[in-house]
Symmetry: C2
Subunit: 259 residues, 2 copies
DNA sequence: CTCTTTTGTCCGATATATCGGACACTTGTC
DNA sequence: GACAAGTGTCCGATATATCGGACAAAAGAG
């Protein structure tokens, strides 16, 4: 079977004898990606240079995990899990890269600290921020995990959860503010409902006694508040300024809308 | 979503001591998918229950392969490779599932053997077929790899390759028909050009002396002939019948167009 | 500034995952 | 029909990948 036509068969990384399972898996998937079509075990063995038994074993493991799928002719190709992971990557990167430019515009136009925030597990986190030209900023650092009840964004992000789910989702200690005050769950839930109705949330003197936070939701294609855009300003800002900023946020959020 | 945050978290499949690297990788990715956001090494260690050193090692391997990416804050998330794999899966499944219903319609309406074909490496293969109600069919079995020069679809699929690339791509022995006749490369190339101009290819008595194959391209979003739809009929079919079938194929192919 | 905690890297021991080969079964050939 | 070639499963030996723990560097705490 004079075979092996154009493919010189580079076993990717490893060429030694007893290779790491993970490396074999990487080789397998790389080959599938090159062929862009299902492959038989035989083809995978030849293409990767891996032992036959290893290929069968790994394919079996990966099939069970949904990473690969075996069709009724025994052909192997990527599975549903890969699709999900790929979507995670795409959604994450697309949203973040577009949010970055939106933030830049907001910060430049209004010269206030603007942020792009998401939930991370049961905490809130600033994913991106832009401080404009302000010498000092009122803002959390990016990536730091903050209790959800401390923030305006948190009230927006929990828009579609029930009181029960929220109580279950957020650790009890997160309802205690830095200064020791405690937020009552009923009040918190009422603010979430209000935020949903208004399309924005405002908090004052919560995490920081001088700060006022304005947050609006960024919806994903499912109408779910997947992230927020927000300004953090001083509490001395007049009503008109707040409205102006909220309008700008809402407009900016719409440009990130729908995926 | 009953989430798990403080939860020690069931390490998916394995709970033993020394786990297989591949299983750990599956656990890692499963966690990332649940969180839908980058995670720190620490979080991954806690979430998966894997040893710290293992997580670092595996993340390093997977990062190098592009399966994961580490941002400048040390956070880990899915990488570009996952995106590519996911696209492979989606494209494959979407196209094939839609082709299946198209084939059913074609076979039902014209009562001829209809097929959906793609390249696989340097061979041609029937991915789907539908024989209508014909008692006997003239058709290759699905999944069998056939030399490209033996088929009408092959002439369509190679539409954008140069003579040189084709000569390089197809093994010399594939130019020899089952009956021993040899196809000259120049003739083959001319037929490819003709197929490209006409938007279809017809072959007679090539792989089978009684068969006539009608093939039209299914273009992907890049205008590339990624697959074909074809009928295999007897050579005795009159010209008008052939035209009728070709028109139906072209129309059907348009419904699969553009991804 | 010192002390503590966390984070990332390195390395050797050993539990075990990988591999080769044998086996049964199917498929193709003459 | 017999024979050859290919495919999928199983199992024990052993090369080695995984893991724990030690270490240095960085980050917090006071």
């Amino acid at each position: 079977m004079s075979e092996s036509f154009t493919t010189p068969n580079a076993p990717a990384g490893s060429s030694g004898k007893r290779a790491r399972g993970v490396d074999r898996v990487i080789d397998l998937c790389t080959q599938l990606h090159r062929h862009k079509a299902p492959m038989t075990p035989r083809e995978l063995v030849e293409a990767t240079g891996a032992p036959r038994s290893s290929v069968y074993e790994l394919v079996s493991i990966l099939s069970e995990a949904g990473w690969l799928e075996v069709d009724r002719d025994g052909r192997i190709f990527f599975g549903r899990a890969m699709h999900l992971f790929g979507l995670d990557y795409a959604r994450h990167n697309d949203l973040i890269s577009r949010a970055r430019s939106v933030l830049r515009q907001l910060a430049a136009e209004f010269n206030e600290t603007s942020q792009f925030c998401m939930l991370e597990g049961n905490k809130y986190t600033v994913v991106l921020d832009d401080n404009g030209t302000r010498p000092f900023r009122i803002s959390a650092d990016t990536g730091v995990r903050i209790p959800i009840p401390w923030t305006a964004s948190g009230r927006v992000l929990l828009g579609d959860m029930t009181l029960e789910a929220i109580a279950d989702f957020i650790p009890a200690e997160d309802f205690v503010l830095p200064d020791g005050r405690e937020i009552h769950r009923e009040d918190f839930f009422a603010e979430i409902e209000k935020a949903r109705d208004q399309g924005h949330a405002i908090t004052e003197g919560l995490a920081d006694s001088f700060a006022c936070c304005l947050a609006v939701p960024v919806f994903d294609q499912g109408g779910h508040a997947h992230a927020t855009l927000c300004f953090t300003i001083g509490r001395d800002a007049p009503e008109t300024r707040r409205d102006e900023l909220l309008d700008a946020l809402k407009q900016a959020a719409r440009t990130l809308y729908g995926h």
